[in-house]
Symmetry: C2
């Protein structure tokens, strides 16, 4: 069991100490990192985390120990119809289960914690995280029914945790969720710094700015390898402070004192909600929190003291009609146009308690994640049609560092090697350009793929091999039982539908004794195409009779002839290629 | 047959006169418009054109005459799997075929001409357009094999065409394709001005700026109704001149004299291609035009003199290897990430003649159309992985008017009524906000839906009724044979796949004599789920036997029991809902 070592330097932070603290450790940080030289390199295995959204998980291995940073899920893309969730393939970790010491989680977003309920079932090792992060993981594991058996440990920024030869240090950063951390992983070969998702916010809404002093200190000490967030690496400049969104809200509230205000944002962005609540209190409005995940998040944040709300500000949605519209604010999910979220249901008139009224001001306080643009536009159109005023400009800032912030981090850390993470290839490539502009050798900045294993030590850093890795698809309760073949079938079915041809054949002679029954789905509207169906039936009868005469009783051969005959006919007649599925029932 | 009246005022334009000119008409414009007062209003029927992209088509009806402006197609959205193209439902026009005088086309983009090959087959009336527009329609109709029978007429900006009680005047505008026009439709009730797609470009690359003087003149005369492009109405400010993109290209060519340059853009944006060619000639590079639609477009533009290329600048793609890379430019399709376009094939290494090489500069000279963001990102990632340098900033300007341009048009025309067109509801709503800010009454600006019919005359403008209208889906050679039921089946098949259950039953008793055969597609990988299939077979046998004992020989009843039994089982076991399709073969 790894040990938590409490930060001693800053007594002001002592109150944030986790109750689970097990043992104090007063060794200075550098001692372990500077321990006797080991010959073997550290292996870094990328099980995920090299795409823009989701499935962030990276394993660090040294001799007989593995620690894992983050354990995220991702959402299915359009090539995965019917899939509910995507989690990483952890075959490698299972094969090395006895080595795995712990998961270290950087923050509580789904793409960093979402796979834990599935993966802890197979690999129940300790999980470390800051307070809000652990609280969110606790909620998830409780829902999955595995909270009892889980080993969760809360750490505070500044704490370090010993895990075999690794010592993992939590460092304060800023992000679009509170309590985010970078990890300094002290290894026998040197310090590996993993930024998690981060931005530099000098004036955060809650808590401290990113601990740039500690970054500088580590840089002085010497950083072997930097793994930094690339999400915004293609953007020049600096990401604005979350506080700037507060100014926009001030303006919106000030200009619309006679209207109801509805704000849609990410449920995890507690600071955003805090700023809305601040304005509500300033302008004398009641606040309704709406949408399941928003309610859960805000409840957790309130319980932990991460959000400050005056007594009486929050009201339940059932009481909203007791107040004049201009004295209420709704804070809701659905800013990404998710079809089942509260805002979408309001926009389509399907919300049980909230109807959009003429003149309502709806603030879309987020930017569409790539792929969600059309869904967001749909909701905005529906809101406009209900005569709501939709505001979306200057109502959001990103949680990720732009180029100038990356330059700052590179200049404080001056890493020997770097591996841009968390981003599509072009984003990671852009971070490499930043690193090169800062004076690094191009060859010292690696752009691995999922499944690659890096070996890094004082003398080199290179791709040394690869392991099994990639997405595991979850459909309903099934984990991994939908693979490429099934997905391809689904895509083909969606493109042109299916035609099923059933014939009953005498087992002995292949003579047609029943059918053909021809049924189609997703092909054409049959009632208006009876003649086409008649033609297909005729073709099948001819084909079967012909095969019977030719004494073909190899059913797979017969099926293939039927498939080809109908396929050719349909292509010629209508340029379509439905899936054709012949089924033979043998009759004695 | 409508008559073309040639513009007399500006002899400099006489050279642009169409060869098809039939008869001169020297009446001044205002005469007809000021003709004796008619009591009946003009009807404006929106058969399409109220969405952002596509299917632009509007009918104007006065007593026994109908004219139609534009005849566009649109692309299927994600709710229409397998659909190739979407065209408008013209039932209303067919029912009133004897009234329909002509199509007037504003410009040659697909969303304004794409449905002509289908619709002229059903309604072969004259089609009017400017020179490039008619040339592009000619190409389309030739491909569709109906050019011979089509009645195409070329007009020049400034010309008017008489069509029954309507006189249609072509007015020069600017857009992302050359030869775009606004239409002043002179009716007995007053002037209706249809902007088509437009922007205000004071310094166009080719030809004249928009004819603001004529807009002002018509405004003085009095405009009854304005139908204006809303695509960019949510954007403040002014759309930049196409020439500004030329400056960016100057810079890119100047900075990359040692590298090959590949530019992807819309094939219809001939001015963009002209600017690339200008730079190629300035910097001594050969130009390769690649991608079928790009080659077609540029050929047509060259033939008509809409593009100026020095002798020897263009080379065929097969000769590209004869020149050093830094002495060539490729201009290609695929800027929207279309999977079959030339750039995508280059990026994925599947282009027969062009391989992306380390250091190639690839310029993405377009903005992703909503819905294409992820496809564009995919191509950019692939290009980065091949070590190309991808440039996309400041390499595109829109072809549509922003708010300040709309204000200019409203202030020149001062219409009595207005109907924002060409945009999603929120875009049209934003144009209404502009109109109201310019002093119009909100009630004088209408926001109809597809299928609505407006009545407009000197005294009023209101929604008076509706007609059958909407999308007709084209799948292969089938037009309209895929409807909502089939689409819903396709969506369901994609979500969870299909399970087909076939049983052979004795006709008399319902006794199971063959099967059950259970086949699935898109459900699970069967080979790894044999036990599940066994369970399903067992369930079917039990259900069928149970029904036989209960003397149920109503097959539809039996099917429904099988469907429900398996459905319940699968939901409980795996939380999935595949389409379950029982098929019964009767055996004597």
């Amino acid at each position: 069991m790894p040990k938590v070592n409490r930060e001693k330097k800053e007594p002001a932070r002592a109150q944030q100490k986790a109750p689970q603290a097990e043992e104090k450790n007063t060794k200075t940080r550098s001692k372990k990192a500077g321990a006797s030289r080991q010959v073997s390199p550290v292996k870094v295995a990328f099980l995920g985390g090299l795409e823009q959204i989701g499935m962030n998980i990276t394993a660090f291995e040294y001799q007989d120990s593995i620690i894992v940073v983050d354990c995220g899920s991702s959402f299915p893309d359009e090539s995965m119809p019917g899939i509910d969730l995507v989690i990483p393939d952890i075959t490698y970790l299972k094969e090395n289960a006895q080595k795995v010491r712990a998961f270290f989680i950087t923050h509580g977003h789904e793409d960093h914690i979402g796979a834990l309920p599935y993966i802890l079932k197979e690999l129940n090792v300790p999980v470390y995280g800051t307070r809000l992060t652990i609280a969110l993981i606790t909620n998830k594991l409780r829902e999955a029914g595995i909270l009892e058996s889980a080993k969760l440990f809360t750490v505070t920024h500044g704490d370090t945790v010993d895990a075999g030869p690794f010592r993992v240090e939590y460092i304060k950063t800023n992000h679009s969720i509170q309590d985010a951390a970078a990890l300094a992983i002290h290894t026998p070969e040197g310090i590996i710094l993993h930024t998690g998702d981060f931005k530099v916010d000098y004036t955060p809404v809650f808590g401290d700015p990113i601990d740039l002093q500690r970054f500088a200190e580590l840089g002085k000490e010497g950083v072997l390898l930097l793994l930094a967030d690339s999400t915004n690496a293609i953007r020049p400049g600096f990401t604005m402070s979350e506080k700037t969104v507060g100014h926009t809200f001030d303006m919106i509230f000030g200009e619309n004192t006679d209207r109801r205000i509805i704000v849609a944002t990410f449920s995890s962005n507690v600071d955003r909600v805090q700023q809305i609540i601040n304005d509500a209190e300033k302008f004398g409005r009641k606040v309704v929190i709406e949408g399941r995940s928003m309610v859960n998040f805000i409840n957790t944040a309130v319980e932990l003291g991460y959000i400050r709300i005056q007594e009486g500000t929050l009201i339940d949605v059932s009481r909203i009609k007791e107040y004049p519209p201009e004295k209420t604010v709704l804070v809701t999910t659905g800013s990404q146009g998710e079809s089942m979220a509260a805002l979408s249901r309001m926009a389509s008139g399907q919300h049980r308690r909230v109807s959009i009224a003429r003149g309502d001001v709806v603030v879309m306080s987020s930017t569409p994640i790539p792929g969600n643009e059309k869904a967001v536009a749909k909701v905005m159109n529906e809101l406009s049609q209900l005569h709501a005023r939709v505001i979306y400009q200057d109502t959001h800032v990103s949680g990720h560092a732009c180029q100038e912030e990356l330059k700052l981090i590179y200049s404080l850390l001056r890493p020997k090697y770097s591996i841009p993470i968390h981003g599509e290839y072009r984003h990671r490539h852009a971070q490499r350009d930043v690193a090169v502009a800062m004076g690094m050798q191009k060859s010292d900045t690696l752009l691995p793929s999922v499944g690659d294993v890096i070996e890094v030590c004082r003398d080199y850093c290179h791709i040394a091999g690869s392991i099994q890795a990639g997405p595991v698809l979850i459909d309903g309760l099934g984990i991994g039982d939908v693979g490429n073949v099934v997905l391809r079938d689904r895509q083909n079915l969606a493109q042109s539908g299916i035609i099923i041809v059933v014939v009953g054949l005498l087992k002995s002679s292949g003579e047609l004794v029943s059918g053909p029954e021809i049924v189609s789905r997703g092909f054409v509207y049959v009632k208006e195409n009876e003649d086409l169906m008649d033609d297909l039936r005729g073709l099948v009868i001819n084909t079967v009779e012909d095969c019977a005469q030719r004494r073909i009783t190899d059913w797979s051969k017969l099926k293939s002839v039927v498939r080809n005959t109908l396929g050719d006919y349909l292509w010629k007649r209508m340029h379509r290629e439905p899936l054709i599925l012949p089924i033979i029932l043998e009759v004695n």
